[in-house]
Symmetry: C2
Subunit: 338 residues, 2 copies
């Protein structure tokens, strides 16, 4: 087991693997001599350099892009916090595999391999309004599942989730670690009505009150107030950092899932980019809190890694330019200094 | 010739072809039954419905996506308004064809056919600070070139440009038709320095003063203060409207190119979307003025249709979902009403 205790995770976060500064510098130099005004490809340039840093090569590749979608169920769903019944989690897992879900289609468009990882769907976490969602062992098991989900050969990982009621878990993590209460972080998720939203806020406030003694410990918060798919996302992001694989985060839940790690080490997400900002209330504020600037802003709020998967297309455009464009010299184009 | 006079253009704009409301409604109904919360794909849903409207089919396709890049030269370049010499226009046209430019690479990534249309590169427009850039015949010729550039079979058109000094022409069009002077609309283009920017502003103010008697006539402004590649973009957008082909506009110059048309008829751009908002000063304000909400905001400022071409990737993701996803019934997933 990679992380046999919470202390193992804390130790990892104290001594993080870094990217390849030389490869990043070489990629940045290359961007300066391609046939365009310097900087004129904007974030496409920054993305190419970021990929170079974490892949450790001047000319990064996306031959093997992976999308991992972790799925789990939540005890708090019984409190009527979602517009959909809990059985939808398992039904959607089948839909992912069958090719009928949005992420199945976007993965194909993005040329990425889709890995769907259901985690004990028949064993929801406990209702965190009255006890801990997971004990330490259950939490570490879910971290481990995420850690092992990173494919052996992988140029990029996009991470997302499926789990009825999991925006409630995400909101409570944010409220616990960033403050502001349910009002700041509870949104409509899949489209809950006013009464459902009121139940969701009540559940969040109840959870914050019940767990008030652990709110200063990010990993205790992740175990006590999170979910298995959120823990797995954190595990996958740790594995990617270990092996220097760049990561695209999906929406509100996927970002909330790594917030406890950020609380352990501020630069734990240097190998990550936010694929998009979702329409779910709280995501924009969360990204701003952890200083991630999203690549896309399309009003999406589906989860399933769908926003991150669309962002893979931007990386493909960035690398096509970075690797395929001619230099001023090669193309015989006059540079500005001529 | 499609438009033998300016009045022909005015007449076309008075009686615009409309999209297929039935196809749009059918596409919107389909979005409601796919396996996702309604609306959760955000703008990807809106884009699929928009494509349905203009392609006239419930399930739109992008089998033949075209990118048209129009190139021309500008008399005002002699006033030192650009960071690059005028010969770069022709050199970049060769680079487009050779595959070394950003647009060559992005077109390949987006699965689109690239059409490069140089327009009399050895005959720059006149310096519009002291006379009209084009006479009426030259303007109509450029419109016609754009009109004819739309491929016979085409599911989507992305339009862009190349032309040293053409952000000066774009800025002067905006200032002439929207007010605010050079301060509001002149940016650094390809990266002009402070002195160059001062020369650019002076040229814009001089042009506004010289042409003050025609500023109330949008087509006279387009001819007197625009450029051949801008007129060609307007012609291509008119052809696309005529044949109900959806259009992605590129950056500041491409958007300024259609501003005179918007002044003739407020809904002339219903078949168009803004592929992105560029980093060029003025583009965000221009999009806001004509109520276009850009799909991407990546700090790009290259032109060449590069931003619009990246946005084609978003359309592909939108259509993959729209056409390929399962319905709740097909997938056996419980809908929220169950």
């Amino acid at each position: 087991m990679q992380f046999a205790s919470l202390d193992d995770i804390r130790a990892f976060c104290r001594d993080l693997p870094e990217g390849d500064a030389g490869a990043a510098a070489a990629a940045a130099r290359r961007q300066q001599i391609l046939t365009k005004p310097p900087g004129s490809l904007g974030r496409l340039e920054e993305l190419a350099i970021w990929l170079a840093r974490w892949q450790g090569r001047e000319r990064p590749r996306l031959d093997r892009a992976a999308i991992a979608v972790f799925a789990a169920n939540h005890g708090v769903a019984a409190r009527g916090v979602s517009a959909y019944p809990a059985e939808v989690t398992a039904q959607m897992v089948a839909n992912f595999a069958g090719g009928g879900a949005a992420i199945s289609q976007i993965a194909k468009t993005a040329g990425a391999e889709l890995y769907v990882v259901p985690i004990e769907l028949d064993r929801p976490t406990h209702d965190f309004t009255v006890r801990c969602a997971m004990d330490q062992e259950e939490f570490l098991d879910a971290i481990e599942i995420g850690y092992r989900a990173l494919p052996e050969r992988c140029d990029l990982l996009a991470v997302g989730e499926m789990g009825i009621a999991n925006t409630t878990a995400a909101a409570v993590l944010c409220a616990a670690l960033l403050g502001g209460g349910a009002v700041r972080w509870a949104g409509r998720g899949t489209g809950v009505d006013d009464e459902g939203l009121a139940r969701k806020r009540a559940a969040i406030e109840a959870a914050l009150e019940f767990h008030r003694s652990i709110l200063g410990d990010p990993l205790a918060v992740a175990a006590g107030l999170g979910g298995r798919e959120l823990a797995a996302i954190a595990g996958a992001v740790l594995a990617a950092r270990q092996r220097r694989v760049p990561v695209l985060l999906d929406g509100f839940v996927a970002t909330a899932a790594v917030l406890p790690l950020v609380r352990l080490h501020g630069s734990i997400l240097d190998h990550c980019r936010a694929g998009h900002v979702s329409a779910e209330a709280g995501h924009r504020a969360l990204l701003s809190e952890i200083q991630l600037d999203p690549l896309l802003d399309l009003g999406m709020r589906l989860g399933e890694a769908s926003g991150a998967a669309v962002a893979i297309l931007l990386l493909r455009a960035a690398l096509a330019c970075h690797n395929g464009m001619a230099t001023f010299t090669e193309a015989g184009v006059s540079d500005r200094d001529n």
